[in-house]
């Protein structure tokens, strides 16, 4: 695959499309043996078998079988990761980069295969899946480049007060990290957290999402192959396996997922004699603010792409619009017109813009939200399940006229569901934009510099976009944006994909040594 894709890509070559279709069919057939864990460099097949069904098909089409780790399996994986700490941290940053570059190359060679597995398990469109596979490669590259470019692996020569001493400030790995991945970017986010942890000198026990076990397994298999035994271990299973991992003897946790689970993890891991680091990237209630002078075509396009791409299941998906009353109706019409043109289909359909949501629970959440929207507001587009599509499909939905502060404008839904709130001034828009607990991404559409400046100054969000037609709130890419959620959206104030992420996996040590 020579094409370079990202989350703003709109088309594929026929060759790549055909290759993707083969990979998708292959992945849907599944492997004959259930997905196994990886402990200390070897496969482990313990634990009951759980299944995952294709969200884009009628119920019952199993795409993945996997072993769910028992507490004993988790314990052994953690023990292997702990035992491997000393050897792995003894390597130089450059040596660890060499190991990870091997994974980067293999990811690059297997992009289409990875995309097929992602699509089979999540139902995401081929553009999204191939984009994610590309991101997998770029994530490793970005962090490996950072290590290479960091002088002496993040060591800083300090001032010296005593001529008989040298003073150095180091960043050293914590030890063994538990890494808990989400379903929405089941490959990229497992790589994001694992590669950063590894390059920072930690060993890892990776627990991929139970809603995409094979995507995580594929990532784990490649990463594990190119590091010494025990440095990267994989355990599969449902939330209780993640729970067991969090409660184990790991030195820290990296988590991407819902705010409820993430903040529980943080509070629990802070409850011991000392707080272990929890690098958590959680959801959002991401807003697009549209001023009265905005280019409404650009705003409608950016909002529709961010609200409905990946069926609203991106952490950074746009789920709220706050718009000046002067342009409200016009904007709503333009978004609705785009919704009407959106193709909702399974990934084997090359024209699919959005696929299904992940499971029946998400569909039930959609149905409840649609009911609430009907009762308390107005559904301008969508609001139902589409006819003639089997699988967990729901229509992209646009809702207006909800009272200020309505729960649909406050709580994350993780659905293709966007609300539009009408206000009478730009300041009111910013106040409303900030009136949630979340603070991941936000976008503004305006032609007035003062409004843009006010937005940048006042918005409580880590990832902000100005007048971005290709995505009002989405589309972050390694090395280009950081994914640094504020408030309930992130635990550390530093984000994955960005320049300060690796450092979160390390702790400072100040060394004062005698001059020899």
């Amino acid at each position: 695959m020579s094409e370079r894709l990202n989350y703003a890509s709109k088309a594929l070559t026929p060759d790549l499309s055909a290759a993707f279709e083969l990979a998708l069919a292959d992945a849907r057939d599944g492997d004959l043996a259930p997905v196994q864990h990886v402990i200390d460099g070897g496969p482990v097949a313990e634990g009951e078998i759980f299944t995952w069904e294709d969200p884009a098909a009628a119920p019952g089409r199993v795409v993945t079988e996997a072993h769910a780790a028992t507490p004993d399996v988790v314990g052994r994986a953690v023990a292997a990761a702990r035992a491997a700490r000393k050897g792995w941290r003894a390597l130089t940053g450059a040596e660890r980069v060499e190991h990870l570059r091997c994974s980067q190359r293999e990811f690059d060679e297997r992009k289409v295969e990875i995309a097929g597995v992602i699509s089979a398990e999540t139902g995401k469109s081929r553009l999204e899946a191939l984009g994610e596979a590309e991101e997998v490669v770029d994530l490793v590259k970005t962090y490996a480049d950072q290590v290479e470019q960091s002088p002496e692996s993040f060591a800083t020569r300090m001032n010296t007060a005593d001529p008989g001493e040298t003073n150095t400030d180091l960043l050293r790995p914590y030890g063994a990290f538990g890494v808990i991945g989400p379903f929405n970017f089941p490959a990229a986010l497992c790589v994001n957290m694992s590669a950063a942890a590894l390059l920072a000198g930690n060993t890892v026990v990776l627990k991929p999402s139970a809603k995409a076990p094979r995507s995580g397994a594929l990532i784990g298999e490649v990463l594990a192959k190119h590091v010494p035994a025990g440095v990267l271990n994989v355990v599969q299973g449902h939330a209780y396996v993640g729970q067991a991992l969090a409660e184990s003897d790991v030195d820290g946790i990296a988590f991407t997922g819902s705010a409820g689970v993430g903040w529980d993890l943080l509070r629990n891991l802070a409850a011991g004699p000392y707080a272990k680091p929890v690098l958590a990237e959680m959801g959002g209630k991401n807003v697009a603010v549209v001023g009265r002078t905005a280019d409404l075509e650009a705003a409608a396009e950016g909002i529709a792409r961010s609200a409905f791409g990946l069926s609203g299941q991106k952490c950074s998906a746009c789920s709220r619009v706050v718009v000046h009353s002067a342009v409200h109706d016009d904007l709503v019409d333009r978004i609705a017109a785009r919704v009407a043109e959106m193709s909702l289909a399974a990934p084997e359909d090359p024209g699919a813009f959005l696929g299904p949501v992940i499971d029946g629970v998400a569909v039930a959440r959609f149905e409840r939200a649609a009911e609430l929207a009907k009762k308390d507001g107005r559904i301008n587009a969508g609001g139902a399940r589409p006819q003639g599509l089997e699988g967990h499909f729901v229509q992209p939905t646009l809702v207006t006229d909800l009272p200020l502060g309505h729960e649909l404008t406050r709580e994350e839904l993780f659905l293709p569901f966007v609300t539009v709130t009408c206000v009478d001034s730009f300041q009111e828009a910013l106040d409303e934009a900030n009136a949630t607990n979340y603070g991941l991404s936000a976008g503004v559409f305006s032609r007035e510099q003062q409004e843009i400046d006010d937005f940048l100054d006042q918005i409580d969000a880590g990832v902000v976009y100005v007048n971005r037609r290709s995505g009002a709130t989405t589309g972050a890419w390694p090395g280009i944006q950081s994914f640094c959620g504020w408030k309930a959206s992130g635990s550390s104030g530093k984000g994955g994909l960005g320049p300060w992420y690796l450092q979160g996996f390390m702790r400072e040590q100040s060394r004062t040594l005698p001059v020899s």
Partner: protein
């Protein structure tokens, strides 16, 4: 009210499963007598496969219970149950049809994973295999294996925790059967009284039966297994592969994963084709002829295992009944004695169902898996002895 005193003779998988099931009811004072050490007999020599790929509803049900039971121990008690999957190979289309029926029967019992694989699928699953003379396989992805020694010791711990007493180095020397049905057992550790005695003595069950005046015939069969040292890691967990055709009269090759650089292999048969072995004096190491036979069988079935070598072999006992089915339940002539014997080469995987069945008999319930009239019913041994008496 004092509890019924039950003495279980035999500290193997069957004895401790029985002791655990009994102790958990809280109706019995349970003591296990073991002549040597826990799992000294067949239990620690087994390759420990637990699976449900059988052809009759009954055979599947008792094994499904076993698989759930050991699965529970793996989830909750730290038992290592390696779910490497199990493949029963088919040499003709009739076997594949029987496998389809098995799948339907297993589904009725809630086991939905098994499926029939055609030859090319088996070859994809096990790239090193050659199936030129086979058409496919029945595959149970949830099946697994455990270490018989560790499993039996875990059962012993759990039985103790539930209140059972375990006496090792306590061989049965003699027994007095009083008119009221109670027993006084003479053992190397002294005399013990019992209201009920369970014979779970594996290869020694015949002798124990004679001492109890509750005869039962077992034909201990010596079987061997051997380690296969891999020259390089396979990168996947080798399923258990069984190339035995039930009823064929010929032993079939089996092998399974043991660890990253080792397989176990052996020859399995569910019929008694050899003369009875003496459980005290049989040769416990491997024979050269056996190693040669396995080497030949592996070379033909797993030609892709280049550079693999054979390691050490060992032998153990299949405690077979005369009709190759376990004998479980009250002794037909002596209701103070319960039988848990004759599980052949299936003792580990049948031990949960056998222990549960004995416990159900003793608590006065109709056994849910293998009661009167079932293939395990101990009443069937009366007919032969009655014939002899006449």
């Amino acid at each position: 009210m004092s509890k019924t005193r039950v003495i279980v003779i035999g500290g193997g998988a069957l004895g401790f499963s029985t002791a655990l099931h009994l102790a958990e009811t809280d109706e019995f004072e349970v003591t296990v007598l073991e002549s040597q050490h826990i799992a000294e007999g067949s239990s620690s020599r087994s390759i420990g496969i637990v699976e449900t790929q059988y052809m009759s509803s009954f055979d599947i049900a008792v094994r499904a219970f076993g698989l759930r039971f050991v699965g529970h121990l793996a989830e909750n008690e730290g038992l290592t149950l390696n779910r490497n999957g199990y493949l029963r190979l088919a040499s003709n289309d009739a076997a594949l049809e029987a496998f389809q029926r098995s799948i339907a029967l297993q589904r009725e019992q809630g086991i939905t994973g098994p499926r029939v694989l055609i030859r090319s699928e088996v070859e994809k699953l096990i790239p090193q295999i050659s199936l030129h003379d086979r058409v496919g396989a029945l595959y149970g992805p949830s099946d697994g294996y455990l270490d018989g020694h560790l499993y039996t010791n875990l059962l012993a711990d759990l039985a103790r925790r539930a209140g059972a007493t375990v006496l090792q180095q306590a061989a049965l020397l003699g027994a007095e059967h009083a008119a009221d049905g109670t027993y006084r057992l003479q053992t190397r550790r002294g005399k013990l009284a019992a209201d009920i005695v369970v014979n779970a003595a594996g290869g020694w069950a015949g002798r124990v039966g004679d001492l109890l005046d509750a005869p039962v015939e077992v034909k201990p069969q010596r079987h061997q297994a051997i380690t296969v040292a891999l020259s390089q890691s396979l990168g996947y967990v080798m399923p258990s592969v069984m190339d035995y055709v039930p009823g064929s009269g010929n032993p079939g090759l089996y092998f399974r994963h043991e660890n990253i650089d080792k397989l176990f292999a052996g020859l399995h048969i569910e019929e008694a084709v050899e003369s009875a072995a003496d459980p005290d004096t049989y040769f416990q190491s491997g024979d050269q002829w056996f190693a040669e036979q396995i080497a030949e069988a592996l070379a033909s079935r797993l030609p892709g295992l280049e550079g693999a070598g054979l390691g050490s072999g060992w032998a153990g006992i299949y405690p077979m009944s005369t009709d190759h089915q376990p004998i479980v339940g009250p002794h037909p002539e002596n209701p103070s004695v319960l039988l848990a014997v004759g599980a052949g080469g299936n003792g580990i995987q049948l031990s949960p169902a056998i222990g549960k069945t004995v416990s159900e008999y003793l608590t006065g319930r109709t056994p849910s898996l293998a009661g009167p009239g079932s293939p395990w019913d101990a009443a069937r041994i009366a007919r032969s002895s009655a014939t002899a008496a006449n």
